[in-house]
């Protein structure tokens, strides 16, 4: 068992076999830093709980079908939580969760226009009109 402490002070007792699903934690354990618990300063308790849920489920479950269905349910979260999960899985280096979250974001992008994508993710268009037109033309005329 090892103890993880989130950025807002919540502590989580985690089985080692679950903890090693996160490569960052695994390396710290191997380096002998896990004795008095591992701080996870970049991740809030709310998000860390979800990440640990994910890792636990993936360790326990063997059937691919079951995992797939569980994943689909797990990832039904609001956009902010989704972003937080991406950042957390990137920091903690949990490949399966990073794949799932990035795939989910990619699915939000598929088939959309640049304008739609900007709106969904609240991104500002910082191209000049000339730049944008030049790229659009190159995309359409050469690369489609």
């Amino acid at each position: 068992m090892i103890t993880l402490t989130s950025s807002d002070g919540q502590t989580f007792d985690v089985d080692e076999v679950v903890a090693v699903e996160m490569q960052t934690i695994k390396h710290m354990m191997e380096d002998g830093c896990a004795e008095s618990g591992i701080p996870v300063p970049n991740v809030t308790g709310k998000i860390l709980a979800k990440v640990l849920d994910f890792c636990k489920k993936h360790v326990e479950t063997v059937k691919a079908e079951e995992l797939k269905a569980w994943n689909a349910d797990f990832i039904k979260v609001d956009q902010v939580t989704l972003y937080d999960l991406i950042m957390a899985s990137n920091y903690l280096d949990c490949k399966k969760l990073l794949d799932l979250t990035c795939q989910t974001v990619a699915d939000m992008i598929k088939g959309k226009s640049p304008e739609d994508i900007r709106e969904i993710f609240n991104i500002e268009n910082d191209f000049t009109p000339e730049e944008e037109e030049k790229i659009r033309k190159a995309n359409q005329w050469a690369f489609e």
Binding site: Q103, I109, I123
Partner: protein
């Protein structure tokens, strides 16, 4: 999303496989453009003359897999002179010089010299996949260079290329250490291959999924090879020479039964196979998703396909007897049978003797999911043999019913009416092939006005002239290309178009010196015109008989 580190953004983009999605992403904002640019590995260039190799690698320096297309589609019907263009050498040269880590190259209708293949084989250490479709300009010596030098080759796929067969030992050039082949297709080669080398190659490549042999591989050899590859998913047989004896045939069937993964078949079924054996063969292939065959299968054979292959998605029936004198052909009956029996059919290429409106209407009702529908009635301008009517209503039913139709080839007797239907209903149509059809400019205008997603339009021997060509010149900047041959457009019309649209290359192919300068431009009809939008102006490699206006 802006606070994501680049590697996270890149990871998200990894899940976007379509070029359109990656293009959309590149336009969101500057940082996305940059991340996308440096992480795009798969690039599709639909017209090699729309952009230059230098600009390609400036935009996508990490390109690993490139698709390039050259000549217009009607080159397949010998309408484009061999040296028109589409040379791949400059592309390979630029990529080699710029240390591009090329791994996959897919070429369609390009001129590929042995020199290009040798340079390719020498320059890209991790090269894995070469797919050549309808290309020309190389010999088996070029293939030998690829086989010998590409240590990690997974795919060598040659489809319908014109290859000079030097009867060398190109297949034997695969070193013993080559065990990585996943796909090997040499069906278009005319010469013999070393059968022992072939058998040994197949035996040492456990991941081989797709194998298409050429005519020179006899039945017994096919059977022996199949014994080594029960994992095959896609099989192309050569020809069965003359009458295979029953014993060999039985052995083949029994071996085929062990290949439980076969989902795609092509080749075979030429003269010599009688109905019984053919039916037996097909009955062992219940799981087929793709079938490419010759029309010797006949309507009866197609009936067997319809009864057996319930998973069929793609069917291509090629003409065996182009002179049209034999009986070995299919009619509307075969197509109707398949439409009833194969509910998943969405892609069709069908060369046939005749077609009726009633049959097309039935097919449209049975198969509303067609995305590609290419019908080629061997006798141009042939009407419905039952009613004597044009086939307007039949094709009209197809476009109305098949709401996802992206590609359509027409044939038979057709008036402007069919184009009215196409303009009205074919909302997603991207490519349209027209031959010997229509009555007036109105036909072409219906299509240009109605089909908003049209990318490629090719027309031959149809009465469309300058009015149709010039009414909406802006349309051509929304399309990849337009081909018109033996129509009514004049040199004057083409010149007007070229002048109005500087970003369009308007090429006139003047093969036999039929056109003369100084002659009245408004009267001189243009035999072959090909126009396309481009970012790089008129090309510099055009032969003397191609004029860019």
């Amino acid at each position: 999303m802006n606070y994501f580190p680049d590697e996270v953004l890149e990871h998200v983009f990894d899940f976007l496989t379509s070029h359109r999605d990656r293009n959309a992403v590149s336009l969101v904002c500057r940082s996305w453009y940059k991340v996308e640019k440096w992480s795009r590995h798969r690039v599709f260039v639909g017209n090699c003359y729309a952009i230059s190799p230098e600009r390609l690698i400036a935009r996508f320096p990490r390109v690993r897999a490139l698709t390039l297309k050259g000549k217009p589609h009607f080159a397949d019907f010998n309408l484009v002179p061999h040296d028109w263009g589409g040379f791949v050498y400059p592309w390979i040269q630029v990529m080699a010089k710029s240390n591009i880590g090329l791994e996959e190259l897919r070429l369609k209708r390009m001129v590929v010299s042995n020199e290009s293949l040798e340079l390719l084989a020498r320059s890209f250490v991790n090269f894995k996949s070469l797919v050549l479709v309808s290309c020309e300009g190389f010999t088996t010596d070029g293939l030998a260079a690829v086989a010998a030098n590409c240590r990690f080759l997974r795919e060598l796929d040659l489809q319908e290329n014109e290859v000079e067969d030097r009867k060398g030992q190109w297949l034997s050039c695969f070193p013993d250490s080559c065990t990585s082949l996943v796909s090997l297709n040499f069906a278009c080669l005319k010469g013999e291959v070393n059968l022992t080398a072939l058998e040994r190659l197949v035996a040492r490549c456990p991941n081989l999924m797709s194998l298409r042999l050429n005519r020179a591989v006899p039945l017994e050899a096919l059977q022996r090879i199949l014994m080594h590859a029960p994992q095959l998913v896609d099989l192309g047989t050569g020809s069965f020479d003359h009458d295979p004896d029953t014993q060999t045939y039985r052995k083949l069937i029994s071996t085929l039964q062990k290949c439980k993964s076969i989902r795609s078949m092509s080749g075979f079924l030429e003269v010599g196979i009688n109905g019984v054996e053919l039916i037996q063969l097909i009955r062992h292939c219940r799981k087929l998703q793709r079938l490419w065959i010759l029309d010797c299968i006949g309507d009866k054979g197609l009936g067997v396909v319809a009864a057996t292959c319930k998973e069929l998605q793609e069917l291509r029936v090629f003409p065996s007897d182009l002179l049209g004198v034999g009986n070995a052909a299919v009619t509307e009956e075969g197509l109707v049978a398949v439409s009833i029996g194969c509910p998943k059919l969405h892609s069709l290429l069908y060369f046939c003797q005749q077609m009726t409106n009633a049959a097309l209407i039935t097919v449209a009702k049975n198969c509303p999911n067609f995305t590609r529908f290419r019908l080629c009635i061997l006798d141009p301008k042939k009407p419905d043999p039952v009613t004597g009517q044009p086939l307007d209503e039949g094709f009209g039913a197809i476009v109305q019913s098949c709401k996802g139709l992206r590609r359509l080839s027409l044939s038979g007797l057709l008036t402007d009416q069919v184009f009215l239907y196409i303009g009205m209903y074919a909302e997603h149509l991207e490519m349209l092939s027209i031959a010997f059809a229509g009555d007036s400019d109105k036909g072409m205008l219906y299509v240009l006005n109605g089909c908003k997603k049209l990318r490629k339009l090719e027309i031959r021997d149809s009465p469309f002239g300058n009015v149709a060509l010039l009414t909406d010149v802006g349309k051509y900047e929304t399309m990849r290309s337009l081909w018109m041959s033996s129509c009514e457009v004049t040199l004057g019309g083409c010149k007007v178009l070229a002048k109005k649209m500087p970003r369009i290359n308007v090429e006139i192919i003047n093969e036999y010196d039929q056109m003369e300068f100084g002659f009245d431009d408004d009267v001189q009809k243009v035999d072959k015109m090909f126009l396309y939008r481009t970012l790089v102006g008129p090309r510099k490699d055009a032969p003397h008989f191609v004029w860019t206006l």
